[in-house]
Amino acid sequence: MRRLIWLSVVAACAIAYPLLMSSPFQQRLGALVLLYAIAASAWNIVGGYAGQVSVGHVVFFGCGAYAAMASYAKFGLSPLFGIPGGIVLAVGLAAIIGVPTLRLSGHYFSMATIAVAETVRLIVTNTEWLGAAVGLSGPTVPRNVFDLSFLSSLPYYYLFLAVLMITLLVTWWMTNSRMGFYLRAIKDSERAARSLGAPAARTKLYAYMLSAALTSVAGALYAMMFGFVDPESGLGILISVKILIMAALGGAGLLFGPLVGAAILVPLEEISNSWLGGKGAGLTFVLYGAIIVLIARFQPGGLLALFTRRSKPNADTGAGHAP
């Protein structure tokens, strides 16, 4: 019950935010927080719940971004039509990466994801049809509302909010389904889970594919908001880094962890960029690196785990009394 009240308060704040904070900078900031929260929540499914650290998640982001822009630039369709195409691409790619590597130990999976992301980035950078190093652009002047090209960030804000809610619902539904139980068992001890009959490799693969599909949607939304995609902004390893650090900072494997991480880091980056200008780019990532190291060293569960840990003893004793 208390949880429900908290949820509705947070949801009300999220809906009211752009009306209360109505400057373009604030609205854009809000939309970006939501966008990264979508991507980080999608990563959380495989990185947090399944415990498989994908370091090349940007490749799925790029699938969505490039599919959306290609559907406009190459076929003259609304970028919206790119979303299903991006999802198909991302899920297919996830299967190709996941089938061999998810059987191996976690390190191999992480490395394979980096290698795939870099390979795709290099290939796209050298592919004329996808705009090579310049990238693809969306509609400069919208033909109709379905081109999703707005000057204000307000429509994007609510669009992203809706998608984020769907993402969180899917994640919540997954954790409470059979798959969620399998994932938790596998994360605790894969060998034990397998011996009890949980299909470990297949469950991890499904989580990876689901995560890839949602990440690709985030990529498509990103490309629509910015109106273009190039190899750096759509496939650069730094996008992966941002996604991963947001989820880890907030709390990997917790439903609202990525949201908290995005709400802290996106404003931090925007502010440091506007203060420091071009020189800030390097410094932002120095800070990101330092934050990741500190989380890994002192608080691997993320910030939200601080609160759950504090309330846990009560929950444990409660469970103990009611067998």
Partner: protein
Amino acid sequence: MSFVLVQVIVGGLLLGAVYALFSSGLTLVWGMMNIVNFAHGDFVMLGMYVAYVVYTLMGGGPLLGAPLATLVLATVGVVVYFALIRDIMKGPMLAQILGTFGLALLLRYSVFWWFGANFLSMPPNIVGGTYAFAGLRIEASRLLAGVVALLVTLGLHLLLTRTSLGSKMLAVAEDQTAAQLMGIRPDTMQAIAWGIAAGATGLAGALIANFFYIVPTVGETLGIVAFVTVSLGGFGSVPGALVAGLLIGVIESLSGYLIGAVYKDIVVYVLFLLFLWFRPQGLMGKT
């Protein structure tokens, strides 16, 4: 035509020896502690910058730069072990990967922030000119890098297999508790392993700095090369890393020459993925 091919293969072997050198550091740490250092390529990058700074500030050539880079990086390795690795080793896999990955970012962008994103390079004749052997033209800097890297890699292998220090390290890798009962301190051995591994990257970095482009993001590519080498050679195996490093150097050079320079990285990455598909235990590894 075929003469050019020989030239390309020799160039690949010389570069491959350097790959083998820094990869044997990764394979040592991976095999001994089952932890993958995602910052390994960035250690090599640091070695390159140390050599660069030694040259620009003191005018010192590789004779001063290489030992200094080895020493600096070995120190970095030991510090990183005590400050970070020792604790995250016992943590969940997420913490292990995040910890070293965060370290990679920290190093890469500190250098980026300090030196900028520009491509730096050493003067072309810092080691010496170009030798001609029976029609083959070999730059002195590449020859030096290849030969030194080969010798040091072999030395590392001997250190691990023929000395009491190596035996102690192997004992820790095999069974920490048992090693402790024999009076070996796992902590010290693992710190030494990190020092050796990082020192190897420092030396490798200083050696290739003489002819490679020096840029903060070079560690990313070199890190992947190290992963490919270790997974080809089988983790924990220095001879495996040597064979795999030479092989990858040759493959990279050949594909750069035959297909085009922009595709040489793609070829190596795809090779890595194919290996993960079909032979995850590596070329010489056991099933």
